[in-house]
Amino acid sequence: MGGKVIQSARPGSKTFWLVLLVFVLLAILPLLYLFFGSFFPEGSFSLEAWRKILATETERVQLLHSAILGGLATLFALLLGGGTAWLTERTDLPMARALGPMALLPLLFPPIVVAMSFADLSTATGLPVVALLLGVSHAPFAAALTARGLRSIDGRLYESTLLARGRLRAELFLLRQCLADILAGALLVLVFVLSNHGVPEFFSVKKKSWFVYSEAVFLRWSAPGKPGSLRAAEAVASSAPLLLLIGLALLICLRARRKGTLVTVASDFRPLPLRALGRGKLPALLFALILPLLGIVMPLWRMLLWSAGSTANHGTSMQTAIESFRRVVTELSGDLGYTLGMAALAGGLVVLVALPLAWEAARRKPWIEALSLIPLAVPGVLLGVALVRLWNDPHLPLARLYDTPALLVAGYGTRFLPLGVLALANAARRLPASFDEAARLSGRGPVLRWLKIQGPLLLPTAVSVFILGYILSLRELDLAVILPPGNDMVPRRLANIVHFGNEDVGGALAVLLALGAALPILMRILLTGKAGRADL
């Protein structure tokens, strides 16, 4: 050892650069390819397509509608998700341990199914109604992050404020402390709502009279013209306002998360004391039940009724229901298996790519988090088209994968990667650097250190990220519509089946899809006794 120069090569850096390259190939390169193409319509440089952004009054009104819909839906999500989280984390609400995880269940049904279920019950099609439905469908983000924020506050801080300044000040202090997490949850809701076109578009069938910008963007992409045409360039340019709006929300979300309270796993920590609800127990319990009722019971009930033939003239019957499920199992089990398999692969891809990126983001390169947000900032349809354009170019080696499920897995994985990076980076930041240092001093190599120290400590979050990627892939409609291997995905099948009036089969399929989505959560609960919402 004496006098010898030994390079202290940073462990894992090669893996990181390799993964970053994969990320660039999957997300950045396709978008850049599409973006630069929009400046060269018909083969020559032109800003024509970009000059037409928001040129008409209709587009400006649509963007305003998008902003109002996003704002209202976020408000509903905060009220229902954040409120339920506050009740389950901060009060002696009866059944709080069950109601907390139940606030995440609306994720199991795609927003379009929630919308269809509601439309089955009511004829209302106003913007506030759609905002409520989208708010319910995305409220789990607000619930999970508010709960995380409340769990990160040391109870002693609250108690010292309570003793010094009284109850009101203590509650305000609490709000300020977890504001960053609440804001992060709210902005995630906003991001998903702004890029959602399926639900507003569904209500067009129900004769709604207003339109949002994401519908216009999707419409342009439905017939974007030949690649390289002015029309295709206009389609790219038209996405810019939405991209800016979502990008802004994501950057604020990122800043908010960084400012959020951070409790390391080694900290001396005391949870917040619970507040007694007293006579308010029953109203609080009823409030906490709203989200599961609207987000899971209502769609489950309506879909089961559909499967039993409620939309047909002959009324509902158990026999029809059995027949609907039998038809799904015999005719569509391949699609269902394919969908669940694709979602599982996408979830796995999210974890595999997000893990090294998140580790570097937490330890040395915080800019990775901002970079990784790009796939979530662009509307799903734009990402899909970008992937199609790049992977369909016969001059590029990736063209061979164009028609294979790999394109779909890549699309889903890329789309939901940001959530994985954010969650895992947060978990990595909670691990004191001294854990790794202690392992390094033992002389163990980087692989063993990952397997024995960091890996097991990040595993609960990695599993949660996998489940999130899996569930969100099962809800994603835009990519399934745009990407050719998405033809057999159940959300797309569901939309088609319902469109063509086969609601009984559609209902059964939606129920089975929700069960498939719940599968990893149920397995996790069986294996560990925990739903794992704290790990996100």
Binding site: I6, A438, S442, G443, R444
Partner: protein, 376 residues
């Protein structure tokens, strides 16, 4: 095995450490004391290879660990480290932690845990299920796993209840002395430093202020910080620049080695009350069983350095600010030249009330030390 540190430097943002020159012998415990932010932990991290120095060298035995063009990574240094927060891996049982750290078998890991004082019944527990003292013993055992050539302890008794410290201190002393490795321990706790150290180094502001055996530093601290830290002395600046400098208590000879600003380090027992000269009410008698005599200081092994001449008998009136008890007896807080000073009452001496004025003077030779700001 000897650890030699020469001209070691480190800089990050506004913080600068060094140049540090240090030598730690095998089988001995060198304790680094000093205030928080003084650079103690950074020095340990530089030695462990967890930070890269900006200059100087670190040699362990015949091996150069850090030096010009050389940096042996932490993983190759074979250094045992007890971290300040312990850094026990929360998902790994006690025995598994030692086995992983030491790449050793069950038998060896069990022996190490037992040596560190963790009973066999706790070997299969997770760190979260151990008490503060038990977790500390596990951290020590883990640091000793893999036969380290150097043991580094960063505030090793910080999270341990006071009544458990004696046992752990005994264990740490024994472990340091039974091996050939040098042991470096960082602390800002006076009792801990004196209980553990074979050699003491005072580190403040990124520089070594002074070093020596604990008995030497307790008997003749040369720096105001050392006197404050080890002897709980209060510092009274001396005015002037010549060989004799003065203050409200008289004029004092300054030793030859002292360059720059000088100060009096007044230990609580250095001052006494001149009876019968209280300006307000009569003091109460001190309780019979209360105060204990001041602990005699350890004998010196360092060559005697004349720090003072015979002390003057000048007295002055000082207001009593407060009074309190500790293991030494009843202490008065009095004010001299606008600063608070502690005065230890003798057993049976009446206790003045706060607000009274007492006439105080020196009772024994005070220490003349280097005022804050200088270094070794």
């Amino acid at each position: 095995m000897t650890l030699r540190i020469s001209e070691l430097r480190f800089a990050r943002k506004a913080f600068e450490l060094g140049p540090i020159d240090l030598e730690a012998q095998g089988g001995r415990m060198l304790v680094l004391i000093g205030p928080s932010g003084g650079g103690k932990t950074t020095l340990l991290r530089l030695i462990a290879g967890l930070e890269a120095a900006s200059g100087g060298s670190i040699t362990l035995g015949d091996d150069l660990l850090t030096g010009p063009g050389t940096f042996v990574p932490a993983a190759a240094r074979r250094v045992g480290f007890v971290f300040q927060g312990l850094a026990l891996w929360p998902h790994m049982k006690a025995l598994a932690q030692v086995r992983f750290a030491g790449k050793c078998g069950k038998k060896e890991a069990t022996e190490l845990l037992l040596r560190a004082g963790l009973p066999a019944s706790l070997h299969k527990r997770l760190p979260g299920a151990l008490s503060g003292g038990e977790a500390q013993r596990l951290a020590v055992a883990r640091a000793l796993a893999g036969h380290p050539r150097l043991l580094l302890l960063d505030e090793p008794l910080r999270s341990v209840d006071p009544h458990l410290r004696d046992g752990l201190q005994r264990t740490l002393r024994a472990l340091a002395r039974e091996g050939e490795h040098p042991t470096l321990c960082v602390t800002h706790d006076r009792e801990e430093a004196l209980a553990l150290a074979d050699d003491l180094v005072v580190l403040a502001g990124g520089r070594i202020l002074e070093r020596g055996r604990p008995s030497e530093l307790c008997r003749e601290p040369r720096h105001a910080f050392t006197a404050r830290f080890l002897l709980r002395a209060d510092i009274l600046p001396l005015q002037g620049t010549g060989p004799k400098r003065g203050c409200a208590l008289g004029s004092f000879s300054v030793p030859d080695w002292l360059q720059g600003e000088a100060a009096l380090a007044l230990r609580p027992g250095d001052l006494r009350i001149h009876q019968g000269d209280h300006s307000q009410s009569q003091p109460k008698a001190a309780p019979e069983a209360g105060p204990l005599p001041a602990t005699p200081l350890p004998a010196s092994t360092r060559p005697a350095t004349p720090t003072t001449t015979a002390f003057p008998t000048k007295t002055l009136l000082a207001p009593v600010l407060d009074r309190h008890f500790d293991e030494r007896g009843c202490l008065l807080d009095i004010e001299i030249e606008g600063q608070p000073f502690s005065l230890l009452l003798r057993p049976g001496e009446p206790i003045p009330d706060p607000g009274m004025q007492v006439r105080v003077g020196l009772d024994r030779t005070p220490l003349v030390v280097q005022a804050d700001g200088g270094s070794e």
